[in-house]
């Protein structure tokens, strides 16, 4: 069935080993074809890359939330509450003062907790310790925890981001 006749080899020449009459045409056509292919590939890749970048999150939520009710926390204890989609920590100290901090450890992002035995904020992941004001006092955390304002209104404890005044 397979024939290696001249007829056959002529039909194989379609790929074009024929000598071009004007040598300048081939490089030009190759450039044209190559740049078209590259351009079309970019037009396929661009939507894919844009698709993979997630849309920006909706606003981080209100700057003011109800974190707890009065009397909900026992003295010398803490509570994690959601603040703008992220965890925050509300602490009632033994002497009856409220503190609110971001609960995201500044080291590698674990959620911290209040340690009643130490009277400090502790991150279990790498033994980072913060004061109840959020200052990083020992272990690997490089920065203090962001501190929030606590406002008492009626029976509710509001937490808000410090206003830039």
């Amino acid at each position: 069935m397979r024939i290696d006749s001249q007829e056959n080899s002529r039909s194989l020449q379609n790929s074009g080993s024929r000598e071009p009459a004007e040598p300048a045409r081939r490089p030009f056509l190759e450039l044209l074809l190559g740049s078209s292919i590259v351009a079309s590939l970019i037009s396929y890749l661009y939507p894919v890359i844009r698709y993979l970048i997630p849309p920006a999150q909706a606003e981080l939520g209100p700057d003011l939330v109800v974190a707890a009710k009065i009397g909900e926390l026992r003295p010398n204890s803490g509570k994690i509450f959601p603040f703008g989609g992220r965890p925050a920590l509300l602490i009632l100290t033994a002497d009856g003062k409220y503190h609110a901090l971001s609960a995201i450890c500044t080291h590698l992002g674990c959620t911290v907790q209040y340690r009643p035995d130490l009277h400090e904020v502790w991150c279990p992941c790498h033994n980072g310790v913060y004061s109840i004001d959020g200052a990083n006092i020992s272990g690997p955390p490089p920065h203090p925890l962001e501190a929030f304002d606590v406002i008492v209104k009626g029976n509710d404890l509001y937490v808000q981001r410090p206003q830039n005044t």
């Binding site: 397979r2 007829e7 056959n8 039909s11 194989l12 079309s40 939507p47 894919v48 698709y51 997630p54």
Partner: protein, 361 residues
């Protein structure tokens, strides 16, 4: 030595790169008046690749739970940059792929490419076609809208007609007695893990068999080349045929892009398990011929339920069609012409019933 030369040497010493290239150089494709049909298999393979890529992209945002599936697809369609494009290409690509797969099957059928020694190529191709239909059926439910919910209810209900194990299949497919969130989870697993795994294995086998036996030449062309050997023409697979195929793929991608841009795939209404079926409920077009047939059947045929007869006939027909090369292995003669007639009837029935289902009402 230049860097590309070094890499080539490195590959050659380890994997016999030059031998592989020599194989590619020697592989040829016969050229005759039916050669265009050789593009259909490669086209289906390309579209499968598109489905894999867009499917993986959809997985980045899709959530397979009843309370989140519809919303996540809505999110993809409206919020994610180019999400509408990716999802529409996935939906359109699925339909075009099934079309090319069916066209590929009928072209192989009428060109008699399934004859000895290619029986297993046909068999693996038929199983691939069933897998592709399974992809379509399972993927249809994933956006979790009204249409897909009821199509899945009806489709899985039909399996209950299978004698003895019918009810068991129904419960297995649905993940319970009814179509619920459990069905969604199950179909998701089937759609993105079970079927892709099986399909990849079978595509590998199918391609291996195609490489092993080369392209089949239809009997009529074979006779002509026997009579006039000097007229036989061949084309190198690489790069000549491959570049032509590549061009066809580029065109297909452009067509998909246009379809997605001008006719973005609908999302519909979120599925409600306790709502009545909406009017105009129907399966995808490739199941329409079965759907229409079942509508024609009376409630009872003799002592049997009409649906049972329908499912039985389609089941037997599918088995016979799949095993075709084992019946029709005669080089020529009455029986093979008879098979061609059966094929024409099958194609006419498929097209006729599909068209009737859309136009008839």
């Amino acid at each position: 030595m230049s860097a590309p030369g070094n890499i080539r040497n490195w590959l050659d010493q380890r994997f016999g790169w030059d031998e592989l290239m020599a194989f590619l150089r020697h592989k040829t494709v016969p050229i005759h008046r039916f050669s265009y049909f050789y593009f259909l298999g490669g086209m289906t393979l390309f579209l499968f690749g598109i489905q894999v890529v867009t499917g993986i992209l959809l997985l980045m945002y899709y959530r397979p739970v009843p309370d989140g599936a519809f919303e996540s697809v809505q999110y993809i369609m409206t919020r994610v940059p180019f999400g509408w494009l990716i999802r529409s290409i996935h939906s359109w690509g699925a339909n075009v792929m099934i079309l090319t797969a069916i066209a590929h099957m009928f072209s192989v059928f009428f060109l008699k490419s399934y004859r000895k020694p290619r029986e297993l190529t046909w068999l693996s191709g038929m199983i691939l076609l069933f897998l592709v239909l399974g992809f379509g059926f399972s993927g249809y439910l994933l956006p979790w809208n009204m249409l897909s919910l009821f199509a899945t209810k009806v489709g899985t209900n039909m399996t209950a007609q299978v004698p003895l194990i019918g009810h068991w299949i129904l419960v297995f497919l649905r993940g319970g007695e009814d179509v619920t969130g459990a069905t969604l989870t199950r179909f998701f697993g089937i759609h993105v893990a079970v079927l892709p795994g099986l399909a990849t294995l079978l595509i590998g086998l199918h391609l291996l068999l195609v490489q092993r036996f080369g392209m089949s030449v239809p009997p009529s062309v074979e006779d002509e080349t026997k009579a006039h050997p000097e007229k036989a023409r061949e084309l190198r697979f690489f790069p000549n045929f491959f570049l032509r195929e590549l061009m066809a793929w580029y065109v297909a991608l452009a067509v998909l892009g246009c379809l997605a841009a001008f006719k973005p795939w609908e999302l519909g209404q979120k599925a409600d398990l306790f709502a009545s079926a909406p009017a105009g409920i129907r399966p995808e077009w490739y199941f329409m011929f079965m759907f229409q047939t079942l509508r024609f059947l009376p409630a009872n045929v003799g002592p049997f339920a009409g649906d049972f007869i329908g499912v039985l006939v389609f089941g037997v027909a599918a088995v016979v069609w799949t095993c075709l090369p084992f019946f029709d292995n005669d080089r020529r003669g009455r029986s093979t012409r008879w098979f061609t007639g059966v094929g024409i009837f099958a194609l006419a029935y498929f097209v006729g019933m599909t068209v009737y289902a859309y136009l008839g009402k």
